[in-house]
């Protein structure tokens, strides 16, 4: 019976009902997409570094695990010394550069050494770097920027030509010759990071211990340790950003439901008086209104899930390099937040409705 009353009330004002549900849907979708984007981009970046195939990473002292924010590069010869150590199969020095124009990380590589660690690029079209102005782009970058072999690409205020389009997942989306990177960055024979492949992954710990003795101030870590660092917990700013966005979304949802239910009880003052004249208790009145808010929240949450999934797919088509990771756990948190916000938003109007004097309510026009 109460469900009939709630449904008929919601359908009586379809626009208001739809707007309230939409607000909840936006709240849920926003939480899932924002968190999904930050986690997705972070995980994607980590996976690409893992995809290089190295077992150990060596970075200069004071380096950030975010490769785009490395410290001053160190001599490439360090890599030669690393290659001499036991159980080391190959070392690939890489000079990283950050292209602020399109916020992309560029790897300056030596093709031979990089191929030895990675096992070689998989080419979709074109071939390896040959000339100083050559650039390799991964398929995701190529799709996002609509480039093909031979096209011009401007990076670091310099013109490059696409030599090849490679399968994604090997550290960066853009690869230029190391010598060119050195010229553009004004350094000589320097590297920002050394990717080290062991003769067997089981030797990684031994290699790390050896490297630390040999280079005590350098940041040496296994690829496993690197992957464990690439979480939002190690990026307080990201957690803060996510927290702010989630908080904003919750406040929006709360406010829309609050206003919606407030106008609802104002409009239905006489109906509340009628229910009271029939003997409905304060608890009954509160329960009806909170259940109505719950229905709004439930439909809004489902719509939010659908909207977030559809948005993720649409964004993947329009911006292929954007990785949005929608997870069940965050879908659950977003739903919980929406329910809590809706119930809180409806509580004050429900409480007010329950306190209405039945005689005044019945006389309300």
């Amino acid at each position: 019976m109460v469900n009939k009353l709630i449904l008929s009330n919601l359908l009586h004002r379809p626009i208001r009902t739809a707007v309230s549900m939409l607000a909840v849907a936006i709240e849920v979708g926003m939480v899932m997409l924002v968190v999904g984007l930050t986690h997705g981009m972070l995980n994607d970046s980590a996976k690409r570094v893992e995809g290089v195939g190295a077992d150990v990473l060596v970075q200069p002292p004071g380096s950030s695990f975010l490769l785009a924010f490395g410290s001053a590069p160190v001599p490439v010869k360090v890599g030669d010394r690393l290659a001499e150590r036991p159980h080391v199969q190959a070392v690939a020095p890489v000079l990283t550069a950050f292209n602020s124009a399109n916020l992309s990380l560029i790897f300056g590589i030596n093709m031979d050494s990089f191929d030895k660690v990675t096992g070689g690029f998989v080419y979709h079209s074109g071939g390896p770097l040959k000339s100083p102005t050559d650039v390799l782009v991964d398929d995701v970058y190529a799709k996002a920027h609509q480039v093909k072999v031979g096209d011009k690409v401007d990076l670091l205020a310099h013109r490059f030509y696409v030599a090849g389009i490679v399968e994604h997942g090997k550290g960066s989306r853009l690869f230029i010759p190391m010598a060119t990177a050195e010229d553009l960055l004004g350094v000589e024979d320097k590297a920002s990071i050394f990717f080290v492949k062991c003769t067997d992954p089981g030797y990684a710990d031994d290699v790390i211990a050896n490297f630390k003795k040999f280079l005590p101030t350098y940041d040496v870590k296994s690829i496993k340790d690197y992957m464990s660092l690439m979480t939002s917990n190690n990026l307080p700013a990201m957690d803060t950003f996510n927290g702010v966005m989630v908080g904003l979304a919750a406040v929006i949802g709360f406010m829309v439901i609050f206003l919606s239910m407030y106008t609802t009880i104002t409009e239905r003052t006489r109906e509340i008086g009628i229910l009271k004249s029939l003997g409905a208790s304060k608890g009954y009145i509160i329960a009806v209104i909170l259940r109505e808010a719950s229905v709004l929240a439930a439909v809004g949450i489902l719509a939010g899930y659908v909207g977030a999934t559809a948005s993720q797919r649409a964004l993947r088509v329009v911006f292929p390099s954007l990785t949005i990771q929608l997870t069940v756990s965050w879908a659950f948190y977003a739903g919980l937040l929406a329910v809590a916000g809706s119930l809180l938003g409806a509580f004050y109007p429900a409480f007010r409705a329950a306190q209405l004097d039945p005689v005044d309510a019945l006389a309300y026009e």
Partner: protein, 223 residues
């Protein structure tokens, strides 16, 4: 036999802004079970306030109010609400049906609020007696005034209240529909010995009752 309604020096004072308004100034009233009583008087004489106090919609300020043996002055709002749910039925001048529900659901919601569940036999019996079977799936906007009032009466009596309080039940109806509604109330009183207290301006409506009480300025002036 104990009267079903008994008031002694009943007073009700409303605070309107900074002014105290005495709506009831010492009402002594006795109503026996099964009586059909009409309360008449000019506007502002306190008829509706008396009804609201006897129905537990508002609390008395002072005096004694016993309804079916329950002292309203000693009861909290929650107690009076509980009492009203089981013992009182209301019929209003403006019908006061829930506009988004059908006639059937408007009646059924009274049983739902009471908490005794839907009683189909009682429902069919009341609907048949009031002649609204064909209109049960209509919402109020699709019903005439007379039909709406009959639905309101059905809602008021579906839970077998001890007392039916009717506030100007024919006030918004034409003569023909007024007659139908008054006949229904009379029938309820005669067939089920339903105690009815009806407020009316209409002397013809008052004539249907067993007894007429006149009020003026918050007091009973004749009985």
């Amino acid at each position: 036999m104990e009267p079903i309604i008994s008031t002694n020096s009943l007073r009700k004072v409303y605070r309107v802004g900074k002014v105290d308004v005495s709506a009831l100034r010492g009402v002594d009233l006795l109503v026996q079970e099964g009586e059909f009583v009409a309360v008449v008087g000019p506007s502002g004489c306190g008829k509706s306030t008396l009804l609201h106090v006897l129905g537990g919609l508002t609390s008395p300020t002072s005096g004694k109010v016993l309804v079916d043996g329950n002292d309203f002055l000693a009861m909290t709002d929650a107690d009076r609400t509980r009492f009203r749910r089981h013992k009182i039925g209301f019929v209003f001048q403006r019908y006061n049906l829930l506009p988004t529900l059908t006639a059937r659901d408007n009646i059924a919601i009274a049983q739902h609020i009471q908490g005794n569940g839907f009683n189909p036999h009682r429902f069919e019996s009341i609907a048949g007696m009031l002649g609204i079977q064909e209109k049960l799936n209509h919402r109020p906007f699709a019903l005439s005034g007379g039909e709406q009032q009959r639905v309101a009466i059905a809602r008021a009596v579906i839970c077998e209240p001890k007392i039916l309080l009717a506030d100007e039940p024919t006030g918004n109806l034409d003569t023909e529909n007024s007659q139908v509604v008054l006949t229904m109330l009379r029938e309820l009183n005669r067939t089920f010995r339903q105690t009815i207290l009806m407020i009316t301006h209409n002397p013809e409506a008052a004539a249907v009752a067993d007894r007429t009480i006149r009020m003026r300025d918050g007091r009973i002036v004749s009985d």
